[in-house]
């Protein structure tokens, strides 16, 4: 393995790890379910992609490489689908998203979100 791929793989792993943590911090900090959902999708897409590609670069055999590719494709196909299903279910069950008033911004400090269920 050449040095370049090794360094690239490390960079991807570290960056992916950082995105993972960011997504989860967002999951904690954001004020309501729908905004948290956006934080979660950060980790689902780019972080997963980066970490898996980082691992792919270090894959010892083609089988491992192929399996990582399949996992990546699978995650990229299912995670937006699951996210969409979740958002749709939440909205239809009457969970109201937190929206800013007319032209204003919401001061979003972590607090229990509005709406039932």
């Amino acid at each position: 393995m050449s040095m370049v791929t090794t360094y690239l793989s490390w960079a991807l792993l570290v960056l992916g790890g950082f995105l993972c943590v960011s997504g989860s911090v967002g999951l904690l900090r954001f004020p309501d379910f729908f905004t948290r959902m956006h934080a979660a999708s950060v980790t689902d897409t780019l972080a997963t992609g980066m970490i898996l590609v980082g691992l792919m670069l270090q894959a010892p055999t083609w089988i491992v490489f192929g399996k990582l590719v399949m996992i990546l494709v699978f995650v990229l196909l299912t995670s937006p689908t699951a996210g969409h299903a979740l958002a749709k279910a939440a909205l239809h069950s009457g969970l109201k998203p937190l929206l800013p008033g007319k032209g204003g911004k919401i001061d979003a400090d972590p607090r229990p979100s509005a709406g039932g269920v």
């Binding site: 956006h38 996210g83 749709k88």
Partner: protein, 157 residues
């Protein structure tokens, strides 16, 4: 034999070989048996059709995904910087956006692309509109500009 059955068979064989990586006669026989069994069950379930085997998309899809990847990175940077802001100032929005007719497959690609880019989630898809929740109002404007829709439309035909 429908073309979709053929493509599914091919897909299953590739999937099996990629996973297995073993080239022994017994494994080949078992693999052939498995593929036939899966084809049988799938046809009973009626899941082999142009919806599950979107062959017409294959020629344009790489370009689309390359473009989507760029969008993905851009919106990630935006959302991550929002997350690490000292004091959260959010302007979330929930908007229904009109769109012209797309095939079911086109809707799926469009909606999933929107959900895949951080900062926007599709919450509803109907015949001629799509409802999107966005972390920031500006993302809604981006979608309304129709760049993504145009690309999906090109893909769909």
């Amino acid at each position: 034999m429908k073309i979709q059955t053929l493509s599914l068979t091919l897909l299953l064989i590739i999937f099996w070989l990629l996973n297995s990586g073993l080239f022994k006669p017994l494994i080949f026989i078992l693999g052939a048996f498995s593929v036939v069994l899966v084809l049988f069950i799938s046809s009973r379930m009626k899941v082999i059709d142009e919806e599950s085997q979107p062959l017409h998309l294959t020629k344009n899809i790489p370009a689309y995904y390359a473009w989507l990847l760029k969008e993905l990175v851009m919106s990630n940077i935006k959302v991550v910087s929002t997350i690490w802001q000292g004091h959260l100032q959010l302007q979330p929005a929930l908007t229904t956006i009109k769109m012209d007719h797309l095939s079911d497959m086109g809707k799926v690609i469009y909606a999933n692309s929107i959900s895949l880019t951080p900062g926007t989630v599709t919450t509803d898809v109907t015949e001629n509109s799509i409802t999107v929740h966005a972390l920031d109002k500006s993302s809604i404007t981006d979608i309304q500009s129709g760049a993504m829709e145009a690309r999906v439309r090109k893909l769909d035909n």
